[in-house]
């Protein structure tokens, strides 16, 4: 296995008093595309937020890109290097598509010259550039958020349901972007319910249930086995 990008050992993360993650063990190497699967409320989003340095590490140990998650300062340094596409699109309704992408790229210390190509690539360039975000459809908002992510050039991509709300072309585009990023040395962690789609993309499927990792398949399965208990890698079944 290549050098680990994500190393979690018994990671606990609390949302208020609720242990959204209750002792998760996970190791993801450089260049992997790990697919997170599990029922609603299993802790997938919290796992992504933990790896982004947003959710606190309340117990256990965790390192992402060499940053110790238990240290506040380290977590802040980590955030600059990863890209998180969460449930929200993080766009200002009153600003245009271009103004949003430009602000966030500048805020993320990204390359401003990449804005134009990124918007064009995601299909929110041209006419849509000058449209206020409040006038966009849900799918177009997601595309704009993806454009921001592309300009950010993260080393680690954390995508929470990236296909949600997108049309077929948009979904293909997401897969293509992830492929490309990984090919150029990035790593990706993707939470998705769309097994068929991501199966081709993932190098590994990670099952998250009850706030911990129940099983891992080193290769993507051809079948949609949600409660899978086979092919134990370094997870544990309870």
């Amino acid at each position: 296995m290549t050098t680990p990008v994500i190393e979690l050992a018994g990671a606990v993360s609390l949302i208020g008093r609720f242990p959204a993650l209750a002792g998760a063990d996970l190791s993801v190497g450089t260049g992997e595309v790990a697919l997170l699967q599990g029922p609603n409320g299993a802790g997938k989003s919290t796992l992504l937020r933990l790896c982004a340095g947003l959710a606190p590490l309340s117990g256990g140990a965790g390192t992402v890109l060499g940053h110790d998650l238990s240290d506040r300062r380290e977590r802040r340094a980590l955030r600059r290097r990863v890209g998180l596409l969460g449930h929200g699109t993080a766009l200002y309704d009153d600003l245009t598509v271009e103004q949003n992408v430009r602000f966030w790229t500048a805020a993320n210390h990204g390359d401003l010259s990449t804005i134009e190509p990124a918007m064009d690539r995601l299909g929110v360039g041209g006419r849509l550039r000058t449209v206020p975000v409040s006038g966009l459809s849900a799918g177009q908002r997601r595309r704009t958020a993806m454009a921001v992510l592309v300009c950010r050039r993260p080393v680690l991509w954390l995508l929470d349901e990236p296909h949600a709300g997108l049309d077929a072309a948009g979904r293909d585009l997401v897969d293509e972007l992830v492929h490309q990023a990984v090919a150029s040395g990035a790593t990706a962690l993707v939470a998705s319910h769309e097994l068929d789609r991501v199966a081709g993309l993932a190098t590994r499927v990670v099952h998250v249930v009850g706030g911990h990792i129940t099983a891992q398949h080193s290769d993507a399965p051809a079948h949609g086995d949600l409660g899978g208990r086979g092919d134990l890698d370094d997870g544990e079944a309870t």
Binding site: A22, P56, G210, H212
Partner: protein
């Protein structure tokens, strides 16, 4: 959550494994409590019966034996503890200091309330009105709201760690503001009129001075007793939360088995 009974047992055993104190009382605080009670009774005896009435303010002066010490304890002791506790909490993340800061502020606000009420009661016979825009009373009223806001933040329903950190910032900034409010209000009223009342100006004989001193000591002991107990309750709540967490972790991990 299917079966509450084992969960309850697990909770109790998890709680028992936590660090002391696991009770609100202890031998030394019981002594302190008795001392506080004795002091309070003797303060009442001295303030209401043994001391003579003041020359010009007569019997209403007796309120000040309670009013002045309450103000001193809340403004100079309680909120200073909150300040120190908040600073240490932000540096060391220790729950102890966070809870102590909160306990001191709670009792401090209570004492400020006593200060306000006794001040207004004293004002009625002295000035003829309950409220005179006296600099001290006015700034005390603002301080009361200031720290009521601090307590409101402590009671927010949110992530406990985030809440403690925000409360700690507030505990520090509030003290800064306490000073600004106090001096600006005094300056403001000072321009219009002199101090309406100054303890140093009144004629106090030996017994009255002793009673004033007794009041200060009594209120400090009462304050200490209240803060210690308030802190212990908060500490127990925290321990119960943590013990509940151990159980919640186990239940969370078991969710997978039921799917």
């Amino acid at each position: 959550m299917n079966d509450p009974a084992p969960s309850q047992d697990a909770f109790e055993s998890a709680l028992a494994a936590r660090t002391a104190p696991l009770h609100t009382g202890s031998k030394s605080t019981r002594v302190l409590g008795v001392l506080a009670l004795v002091l309070l009774v003797s303060l009442l005896a001295f303030a209401l019966v043994i001391t003579p009435p003041e020359v010009s303010q007569r019997d209403s002066f007796r309120l000040l034996y309670l009013h002045v010490p309450s103000a001193i304890v809340s403004l100079y002791v309680a909120f200073a503890i909150t300040l120190v506790g908040s600073i240490i909490y932000l540096r060391k993340q220790s729950v102890f200091w966070d809870l102590l800061a909160g306990a001191a502020a709670e009792v401090g606000v209570l004492f400020l309330g006593i200060t306000l009420v006794t001040g207004m009661l004293w004002g009625k016979p002295t000035w003829g009105v309950y409220w005179q825009w006296d600099p001290r009373l006015t700034s005390t009223a603002v301080s009361f709201v200031l720290y009521a806001g601090y307590l409101a933040v402590r009671k927010l329903d949110m992530d406990p760690v985030v809440r403690s950190r925000r409360a700690a910032v507030l505990g520090i900034v509030s003290f800064l503001n306490l000073i600004i409010v106090r001096y600006s209000v005094q300056w403001w009223r000072g321009l219009h009129q002199g101090q309406t009342f100054d303890v140093a100006d009144t004629q106090m004989d030996g017994v009255m001075l002793f009673t004033a001193l007794l009041g200060v000591i009594t209120m400090h002991v009462v304050f200490a007793w209240l803060v210690i107990h308030r802190f212990r309750v908060a500490w127990l709540e925290h321990q119960a939360d943590e013990a509940g967490l151990d159980v919640a972790l186990r239940e969370r991990r078991a969710e997978g088995a039921n799917v």
